[in-house]
Amino acid sequence: MARATTTREFMLGEGAGTGAGSQNIHVGVGPAHPAMHGIIRIQAELDGEVIVKADVEIGYLHRAFEKDCEVGGWNNAIPYTDRLNYVSPLINNFGYASAVEKLLGIDITERCKYIRVITSEISRICDHLTCIGASAMELGAFTVFLYMIKAREFLWELVEDVTGARLTISYGRVGGVKADLPPDFGDKMRAAFKQVREVLDEVHRLLTGNRIFMDRMVGVGVLSREETIAYAITGPLLRAVGVPYDVRRAQPYYVYDRLDWEVPTQTAGDNFARYLVRMAEMEQSMRIAEQALDQIPGGPINVDHQGCPIDPATYVDQGKQGKTEGLLLVPITLSPNLQGSERHAHQRVNAADKRVVLPPKETTYGSIEGLMNHFMLIMEGYGIRPPAGEAYFAVEGANGELGFYVVSDGTDRPYRVRCRPPCLPPMAALHRMIEGEMVADLVPTFGSVNMIGGELDR
């Protein structure tokens, strides 16, 4: 508080802001405001340039995620989870899928765990790049924004290679992932990381130590360690006050405990500390992804066909004619859209549980059992049916602990899906960060909490 008083007195003379407040003016910022990369409304009460009191209103992007999940089957919620934190959708996918897997009590394959780790970390880098780029742009550093988006574009091309989409990827499945990694993924990832590292290096030289940037960030938006914890803030904001809490380290899931990485922390708790934590985390994420790629079992996909591949129509025709001998073993050529879901790849990345995972397409088209299995999982009233009960599973999202609390009544539809949004607590505490600061400090502080509308309002 000592620093805030200094600012106020600097602007308005000694003792300013201690009166009855009759001179205070009220300013509404948002919901459509240029310097806010999200739609919230801040009703600020100002004493000169200093924010005395702020009331934050959210909900402008409420699109009924939790209600929509109750409408479809368990896998139908996956596309909705993409759009929670739309900057790092892969982490959301896997968080939800893992919560349902916990409820079902099934384990996923080793290769799938590694794939989830690698793609999650790529997603996390995209999120941090966007966060830093956008908040630097709001401070006038448009170059940084262009560089960061350039780097993100390289990663998105990588994501597109794996998932088929750039942004809303719907790649996770209960019990596995949609498809295996493409054959040349490793090389592409290393090439993309090289580019990202160059960009990060450039941005470090542009921002870290830059006088203008430092003046706007150092000592601004401070939240004490005690308040950060009391407001249940996790992720980079918690690590910026010196608490090395990271779900990946505290309750390791997938294969994070087998990899060598660090939890970067800072102690100042201001915007600059958050920036440094995010910059360091991107490097750690790349380390994790690279190690995971080295360790991933199953190796690159070997197309080791016994006999000639045949097209699906011939395959079905032969089946109809009763020529079924050895048919199940013959690989068929699949549409390029299904790349990575061939039988050998499918088995590597999906749990061997017929109650949960759709069979590979060759089996669906080539055998009556496969077809029935497929129908049983798709038909209404059948599908994935976790036993009645409840489960909470947390992953480390880009903004902190991303938890999914799922309740099942034993049917094929979720009874209740609750997302614990990592950016809601910082927004609840935003008024504590900006009260006593100047209006202009609102912009970097709001940038540093990295509010993502889809996740905040759900």
């Binding site: 909900g59 914890i229 608490v243 505490a429």
Partner: protein, 165 residues
Amino acid sequence: MEGGAILAELQARFGAAVVETHGHRGDHTAVVTREALIEVLGHCRDDARLAFDVLMDLTAVDVSRLPGREDGPRFEVVYHLASLRHNHRLRLKVRVSEDHPVVPTAVPLWPIADWLEREVWDMFGVRFEGHPDLRRLLLYEEFVGHPLRKDYPVNRRQPLIGPRI
């Protein structure tokens, strides 16, 4: 502490106020009575061996269509606690009926409960006694009803402007 030991500790200390416990899928859960809720939450936060310093999540479930639960209390308010110091977790639940959907507020214990309780009020219509400012959080004041209740149709829209479609 191990989850089972936490539950045993709570049962030993609060006796009949702990109605039910389970450890399904490793998530240790205690259902407590409404009267004892604040005392239990306070103990969980302040006891040195428990030290649940973070209220990770606060939400509710409308159990009116859960098989076997149709006739009981309609709402379950769910608290997910976590301890940064000891790295353990606990889920607490309290059941409230539709006729009197009121739970004592946890705002004095954790300030984050402010927004989370507002959200539960918004979505389920469960009130929190003693809450400083119980407004809707996500929806607008003109909205009638509480959408996450099971009897609210998913596409009943209440537009502020424009046609009702």
